[in-house]
Amino acid sequence: MTRDCEEIKSLLGAWLDGELGASEAAEVRLHLQGCASCLGEKARLEKLQSSLKSVLEAKASQLAFEPFWAGVRQRIAEERPWHARLIDWARAVLSPPRLAWAIPAVIIILLAGLSLEQFFPGWRWALNRSNLAAVESIDGHGFNVALLRESKTKTTVIWLFENHEGEEETSAEPVSGGPAF
């Protein structure tokens, strides 16, 4: 039994996908050897497939991991119990920087438990909570960094202490001129 072009064309997709049985596949292959019209159809189907893949690849390659992960982590953080979040947070903030050549010192000053609000949602400042900015991450690139969150005045401050000694070891004390919080 031989099939006409329309029938062959309707099988081409599945044939390209490798989903036809052996005898049908052989029939398609044979037909393609002598039919320009069906060969053209095959080329179009292939192009459809490859263009879709390449346009999506191109778009996905522009997506940076950091902002993507930030969204995932935020969703996870909102669901996890506070103690688990505290551990994660501490790990993220206190872990040594990944770049071996830099020795940035990051000091986080948590004043009077003000920032605890972040980890105890709804605790004590439930009414003000939505008005206080939440800091997810800070990288001081070699500067010392302090974080202050004051719920009464709805203030979140990230403070950079310039490290005048340049690449010197961690200067634990903030350089003079910093705020007296």
Binding site: A14, L63, F68, W69, R91
Partner: protein
């Protein structure tokens, strides 16, 4: 020493988010591709892809290693993307929105600029054309093109038979060819 994927998964099952970050870094682009193919809109795709990773983490204890982790992930992604479209029901996309991108990009083209512009344009038109298919048709066309999945695997993901996958693919390709006409 490279930590195997299964080790990472077991860490995740104990609640280790850092281990999960490694897994996410490995797969986020592939998941994003599948979802973007189905949703067209970058922001929607980002939202659904992030939600995919969130749900996978939340349910990671259910992952027993029967399939690859990525297979498990994209099954979640595809189903969330279908779900998302049913909720969303956006209006039909306007081609022009994407055409601007095509024009901007012409500045950094390679050896055969005409061909590249055409291919790029084809890509954008293709995405716009896919956007007009039904969620189920989108899913089959994207899964096949991006992941090269077998009909059996696609059927498992969508909960339908191989025959259904075949006929949906056939229909979707036909529709796309009609819409793209001379671009192919």
């Amino acid at each position: 020493m490279e930590i195997s994927e299964w080790d990472l998964i077991q860490k995740c099952q104990k609640g280790d988010v850092t281990a999960y970050e490694e897994l996410a870094a490995k797969y986020y682009r592939r998941v994003f591709m599948v979802v973007l193919g189905m949703l067209h809109h970058q922001e929607d795709a980002m939202e659904v892809a992030q939600e995919t990773f969130y749900r996978a983490f939340k349910n990671i204890n259910r992952f027993k290693g029967g399939s690859s982790f990525y297979t498990w992930l994209y099954r979640i992604a595809v189903n969330l993307a279908i779900d998302f479209q049913r909720r969303q029901k956006r209006g039909v996309m306007d081609f022009k929105e994407n055409m601007d991108e095509v024009i901007v990009e012409t500045e950094r083209l390679g050896s055969d600029p005409y061909r590249e512009v055409r291919d790029r344009e084809l890509g954008e038109r293709l995405l716009a054309a896919i956007d007009q298919l039904t969620p189920d048709h989108k899913a089959v066309i994207v899964m096949r093109a991006v992941e090269g999945l077998s009909y059996k695997e696609i059927g498992r993901t969508l909960g339908c038979s191989e025959g259904t996958v075949m006929s949906r693919l056939h229909y979707a390709r036909k529709k796309l060819q009609e819409k793209l006409g001379s671009y192919l």
